[in-house]
């Protein structure tokens, strides 16, 4: 559950960056939608952290680890997609 939230959040953050918009969507998004994605991404991350904080110390450790895994997944899929798209 938290992992999905983090994954969604990081994906939004990733899509709010111009370079990744070019790679993943082959076009640039407008400034406003980038901003919205950035806000949404941070909000999802904060929400997942909030959930973890309410679950106690072990959940916080898990959250940090899941953050690493989710970022790894997003980075790996970015790379794969941009290789496919010449």
């Amino acid at each position: 559950m938290t992992l999905l939230l983090i994954l969604g959040g990081l994906l939004c953050l990733c899509l709010s960056m111009t370079r990744h918009q070019r790679d993943l969507l082959a076009r640039s998004l407008s400034k406003r939608s980038s901003q919205a994605l950035r806000c949404g991404g941070w909000a999802a991350l904060c929400l997942s952290l909030g959930l973890a904080l309410s679950d106690g110390p072990l959940a916080i450790l898990c959250w940090i680890g899941e953050l690493s895994i989710a970022a790894l997944i997003v980075a790996a899929s970015c790379t794969l997609i941009s290789i496919r798209r010449p």
Partner: protein, 501 residues
């Protein structure tokens, strides 16, 4: 001025990263594997099998100890748990010296396994490098300090890491190595900071002994006694003539302890002076039950009365226990342990790519130089050589005869000799050929390690899958995955070299 500061930091980062980097790579790789120390130990002792948490385990262990060592000064029983299904007993003889045995928790029968250090080999290597005296620990200490320096100067040097958070551009030479270094580094950043700092805490009394020297006039035994006694609440001391300690009494005591700890289980039982009237039984709570490594314990007299308890020390001890416990991560269940392991591997990858980047960068700055740099050769011997040594250790565990004398030392020799072989190979071959050769060798060793056990009846991968022995199955699978990945990487590299030529 700002640029000057960043250049200084870049200089610091590249040199504080290089020499300790080789050491840190070894520490990180062995440390990451140590998260699965119990599983590796089980894999390396394929004869052992038992049942987790048999209610009679303590009784059987006491019976065996009364028979084997009635006059011992100390008995220690490590009760079986989900990750380690055998009981381990240890006793200290009248003249000192420790002996230990493995017992089947269901029957109390002695289990005879091959003589091996198991996962403990990597565990000790992680902080003492198997070096004589305390040399290894001092080296590890300096490496950990260098790690903190390298991390902080690294954040300043690679200030674009957060903007390039998800960026990896493959097949672009130096650019790709830099990306990989940045991505691995930034992903594992919280873990790396935590683990280097808590790692230093575990060795703190060694490299900062001054407080103990001053307060206790270097009497570390007194310091340890005070530390242990902190937070201890002693009840009335028993002086009545207690009967000799029996199995059922210890079982009763463990039951009482587990009543007192609502959520915890007993992990270890220590019996002092078991033969005498003044025997005491100390029950320690399992280390998996709390993040802190400041373990909670209860002490009973031989007639089953609670005489002392320890529920955690003062604030300093508690903080230390938390930091220490965070480093060891003995509290973690399956998922969290895997996350720690993965973060450890990411840290290892960051160090490895950093070392490679150091070489690649200097080669592109100075392409005319025909001679390969010493650092390049050292990289091969370390980054590929250490995994080869670990794979050789595992294979030696399978190939050396089970009853051989001095077997443990031979396993260690297999580790170090194959590492030296990798070093010599790296020294004599052109680095590019040494890379592919050694990675291919690693792949073959990893694929070979699970094979011999398959010829043993009722053992090996397929039998473990049938009986649901997941720990051993996972070690086998990890070996296969590593082996196939290494072979694929090596053949890809050699194909590209052929295409270039």
């Amino acid at each position: 001025m700002k640029d000057g500061f960043r250049q200084t930091m870049a200089f610091l980062h590249s040199w504080a990263g290089l020499f300790p980097g080789w050491l840190l790579y070894a520490i990180f790789l062995s440390g990451s594997l140590t998260y699965y120390r119990q599983e590796i130990t089980l894999w390396m002792r394929p004869e052992l099998s038992g049942a987790a948490a048999d209610p009679q385990a303590a009784v059987h262990a006491i019976d065996r100890l009364r028979q084997a060592a009635p006059d011992a000064r100390l008995w220690r029983i490590d009760l079986p748990n989900a990750r380690n299904p055998v009981t381990e007993i240890l006793w200290k003889g009248e003249k000192g010296g420790f002996r230990s045995e493995y017992l089947d928790p269901r029957t109390g029968g002695q289990l005879h396994g091959r003589e091996t250090m198991g996962g403990d080999f990597l565990y000790y290597f992680h902080f003492d490098l198997h070096a004589p005296v305390r040399l290894g620990r001092w080296l590890v200490c300096f490496a950990a300090i260098a790690m903190l320096v390298a991390i902080i100067s690294g954040i300043i040097t690679h200030r674009r890491i957060f903007a390039d958070f998800f960026t990896f551009r493959p097949r672009k030479g130096q650019r790709s190595w830099l990306d990989a270094h940045n991505v691995a580094g930034v992903l594992a950043l919280p873990f790396c900071l935590m683990i280097s700092f808590t790692g230093l805490i575990t060795l703190a009394t060694m490299f900062m002994p001054w407080a103990i020297q001053r307060a206790y006039s270097s009497d570390t035994a007194a310091y340890a006694r005070d530390l242990k006694g902190q937070g201890m609440v002693a009840a009335a001391v028993s002086s009545a003539d207690a009967p000799a300690l029996s199995g059922p009494m210890v079982d009763h005591i463990v039951g009482r302890a587990e009543q007192i700890w609502p959520k915890g289980r007993a992990g270890r039982i220590l019996v002092d002076n078991p033969g005498s009237k003044h025997a005491t039984v100390t029950v320690e709570r399992r280390d998996a039950d709390s993040i802190s490594y400041d373990l909670v314990w209860l002490r009973f007299s031989a007639d089953g009365r609670l005489i002392a308890r320890h529920d955690g020390g003062g604030p300093a001890v508690t903080t230390h226990g938390w930091l220490y416990g965070l480093h060891l991560a003995r509290f973690s269940g399956g998922t969290l342990r895997f996350l720690f392991f993965l973060s450890g591997l990411l840290g290892t990858a960051m160090i490895a790519t950093g070392l490679i980047l150091w070489v690649v960068k200097r080669r592109t700055q100075n392409p005319a130089s025909p001679r390969p740099m010493a650092a390049e050769r050292a990289n091969v011997a370390m980054i590929a050589g250490l995994p080869i040594a670990i794979a050789a250790l595992l294979l030696a565990n399978r190939l050396l005869p089970a009853g051989m004398s001095g077997r443990m030392a031979w396993e260690a020799s297999a580790f170090f000799l194959s590492w030296i072989a990798a070093l010599m190979n790296a020294w004599m071959m052109p680095p590019k050929r040494a890379w592919t050769g050694q990675v291919r060798c690693l792949g073959l060793l990893c694929l070979a390690a699970p094979i011999p056990q398959m010829f043993v009846p009722d053992s090996g991968l397929f039998a473990w899958v049938r009986t649901g022995d997941m720990a051993r199955v996972c070690v086998d699978l990890a070996l296969f995955i590593t082996g196939l990945t290494a072979l694929a990487a090596a053949s890809k590299a050699s194909a590209r070299r052929r295409a270039k030529a």
